[in-house]
């Protein structure tokens, strides 16, 4: 079956102690395991800050939300600051429907996330 051109890039060179997970494409039930694996692999290193950059994610369902809730819990246990940035309106709306927008630290863009 042909794969869609969707990737998850992990960047470690933006600032000391900051790791950025940058998925692209839709995050649904078929792709959230991939995002979960990428975040888990970053969290094993227990970085001071984890940024999830959603600027190239046009769609997310509750499986993506669940992945981020799980990541937030692990980050709190590891004392890693987790920040989400770059949300499109359609993605933001699911956070609001689930009333999770207050649970996460959400900023507008990557610059703000790195400096937050």
């Amino acid at each position: 079956m042909p794969q869609q051109d969707h990737t998850i890039v992990v960047k470690t060179d933006l600032a000391p102690g900051v790791v950025v997970v940058h998925p692209s494409g839709d995050i649904d039930m078929s792709r959230s395991p991939e995002l979960r694996a990428a975040i888990r692999s970053v969290q094993e290193r227990k970085p001071p800050k984890l940024v999830v950059d959603l600027s190239d994610v046009e769609y997310m369902d509750s499986s993506g939300l669940a992945t981020l809730v799980e990541a937030m819990r692990t980050s709190k246990a590891n004392k890693t600051a987790m920040v989400i940035c770059g949300m499109h309106d359609k993605v933001r709306s699911i956070f609001e429907i689930a009333r999770l927008n207050q649970f996460f630290t959400i900023v507008d863009d990557l610059d703000a996330a790195v400096s937050a």
Partner: protein, 168 residues
């Protein structure tokens, strides 16, 4: 079901086909006059319903059958579309419709949000058991200030007229 669906598709319970179902529902919703954000929310509700069927109904089997049927929701007299009705059916494990409910949102943990999202996004969400097996979910979303494209309005009116004239 009261009348023939305007669209009916069958898909397997494989998560790779969720994107196709979302695109279909969002495109049709757009043509029925919903704005972009509502189209995305309607597609989200259908996605969540399909995920629940795949995860809980078919217990992640990828060869189960799912049917999605779509009708324009008509105003009294059938002159124009004023929303969308979507019916999702399966042959998966049956559950008591009374037991279908989302979790408390204050209980923040991964999972269990699908039913809450469906009920929050749609105006109606009704679960029923199908006979002899499977479940049926009927979703309705009404559209505010809809500007139905003229060709669609004509098709909707023609279908309504034909239905009202046809002998029982």
């Amino acid at each position: 079901m009261r009348d023939r669906p305007h669209i009916r598709v069958e898909l397997l319970s494989n998560p790779v086909y969720l994107c196709g179902a979302r695109e279909l529902v969002a495109s049709v919703s757009k043509r029925l006059g919903f704005d972009d954000l509502d189209c995305s929310k309607i597609a989200l509700a259908v996605d969540e319903a399909l995920c629940n069927i795949i995860r809980h109904g078919y217990q992640r089997r990828t060869d189960g059958q799912i049917w999605i049927s779509i009708w324009p929701l008509e105003e009294e007299g059938g002159a124009r579309a004023c929303g969308i009705r979507i019916v999702i059916e399966d042959e998966a494990k049956q559950i008591d419709p009374e037991q279908v409910r989302g979790r408390e949102l204050s209980d923040i943990r991964p999972g269990g949000l699908g039913v809450h999202i469906i009920r929050e996004v749609m105006d109606e969400a009704v679960y029923e058991q199908r006979q002899p097996r499977g479940m049926r979910l009927t979703l309705v979303k009404r559209c505010q200030n809809v500007e139905t494209p003229s060709r669609l309005a004509q098709a909707t009116a023609a279908a309504s007229l034909k239905r009202h004239k046809s002998p029982r």
